[in-house]
């Protein structure tokens, strides 16, 4: 199925169902799909599971989605930040479940989901609280922890440019989780700074091939 170019972020997030697992790209504000998150707030889906590196900053974007009580559970590597007061409050009030995952394990679990890997053994976290209750195995003299994929119903990512095939290129460190999340969800929505004609992106430079991407929307704000 080819990519759909949406006229605005509201069209891009239409149909997201209550109870969905949403992969949200970005590291800090770099690569954060802020317009898609704002549209998701308007769209109204609730009881969501959000998978993202952080748990919202300040009062906008992911923090605003949390503040509206739409997120039941968050899977992330680094929830606690100087400006994560929305998450902090919900967490201390017991209104949100938290699964903390080491950052590289989070990326690899997403990659595994996109690559059809059933599970994998990683040395990260062996012997720590984050491996408690998980299967372990000694491999080449080192303890490894069994980790399962994280698959999304929807991925919301920010990229730099898309073409009419849905091919994506990113800019600098805003690439972060975009390429792996794009492989790991049933419906992948990208907000981009520019949609260009088919043939206008150098095929050698495409980072996310359009096969992974379902909807793109051009936004004026920084991704």
């Amino acid at each position: 199925m080819s990519v759909r170019a949406c006229r605005d972020p509201d069209e891009a997030v239409a149909g997201i169902e209550d109870g969905s697992t949403i992969l949200v790209g970005g590291f800090g504000m770099a690569g954060m799909p802020a317009d898609l998150i704002e549209a998701l707030i308007r769209q109204g889906a609730t009881e969501l599971t959000v998978v993202s590196n952080n748990a919202g900053n300040g009062d906008t974007g992911l923090a605003a989605l949390l503040d509206k009580g739409r997120v039941r559970r968050i899977v992330c590597s680094f929830p606690r930040q100087s400006d994560s007061w929305v998450f902090d409050r919900l967490y201390h009030e017991g209104r949100i479940d938290l699964e903390v995952v080491p950052q590289g394990t989070l990326a690899e679990r997403l990659r595994a989901a996109g690559a059809g890997i059933g599970a994998f053994y990683s040395p990260t976290g062996a012997g720590t609280l984050l491996a408690e209750g998980k299967e372990t195995r000694e491999i080449a003299g080192r303890t490894h922890v069994l980790e399962y994929p994280i698959k999304g119903d929807v991925a919301l990512i920010g990229a730099h440019r898309a073409d009419g095939m849905g091919n994506l290129v990113y800019r600098k460190t805003a690439r972060n989780f975009g390429p792996v999340m794009a492989t790991a969800a049933t419906t992948v929505v990208a907000q981009v700074h520019e949609i260009v004609d088919i043939g206008a992106l150098d095929p050698e430079a495409v980072v996310t091939p359009g096969i992974y991407v379902d909807r793109v929307v051009q936004v004026v704000s920084a991704a």
């Binding site: 800090g28 201390h92 938290l98 950052q103 394990t105 989070l106 690899e108 460190t173 690439r175 792996v180």
Partner: protein
């Protein structure tokens, strides 16, 4: 260790105080070989970059997806798409490369980075690291890339003050804070001394502003001296 080979430099550096933060960073930088691929952890370890001499050929990795990261961006250079793992705006050097998170952590976990420098709450003499969580009941756990860094780089250096503000040693027989990694630390650079840690326990490589015997007494820890005396 072979005591008959070339003589070691003096272990005790007396007649001076403990190292300042900048001197600690310079001390770490001296042990980073030319041409290394290095990740500097968030906070105090980032100071090490200021002490790598021009021409050292050290390539800095930031785990959010970049090699050959440059210094922090100044006004007018700030690009919101170009940040380091501490979310500080940075710059790129010629020859920089960008990659996604799974690749970034694969190069870390896969042993391609030569050195990472991390801060710590505690390090054990066997090289266990605790630097992500105090374990307090109301603390929100947040690990980021700490566990991946701890087990991934070929050598892990810790840079920390040797004592807490209350004077409690942070080099310990066993960590009491939740672990980040088991047996992963190679060297510990502190204001009062530099240590080698690992299966053989803690070895003092040098001291600053404190005699070895006083250091051993304050730490209350089984120690050996690199000079074997």
């Amino acid at each position: 260790m072979n005591p008959t080979s070339s003589p070691l430099p003096p272990l005790e550096h007396l007649g001076r105080g403990p190292l300042t933060e900048d001197e600690m960073a310079a001390r770490v930088a001296r042990d980073i070989p030319h041409g290394s691929y290095v990740n500097l952890g968030i906070g105090r370890p980032t100071l090490v970059a200021d002490h790598l001499p021009g021409g050292a050929g050290v390539v800095l990795h930031t785990e959010n997806g970049m090699l050959n990261m440059g210094p922090a961006a100044r006004d007018g250079q700030i690009d919101p798409d170009l940040i380091n793992a501490g979310k500080i705006p940075v710059t790129e050097l010629p020859g920089a490369a960008y990659f996604h998170h799974a690749d970034s952590f694969a190069m870390m976990r896969g042993g391609h980075l030569d050195i990472c420098v991390l801060g710590a709450f505690q390090v054990s003499s066997a090289g266990d690291l605790a630097n992500w969580h105090t374990g307090a009941a109301d603390a929100i756990p947040a690990v980021g890339g700490a566990m991946d860094l701890a087990i991934g780089a070929k050598r892990v250096f810790v840079m920390m003050t040797l004592f807490t503000k209350q004077g409690v040693p942070k080099l310990v027989p066993e960590c009491t804070y939740p672990l980040t990694g088991v047996g992963c630390v190679d060297r510990v650079y502190t204001d009062f001394a530099t240590f080698q840690v690992g299966p053989g326990g803690a070895t003092v490589l040098e001291t600053f502003g404190i005699p070895y015997d006083d250091l051993a007494q304050r730490l209350g820890l089984a120690l050996s001296r690199q000079d074997g005396t």
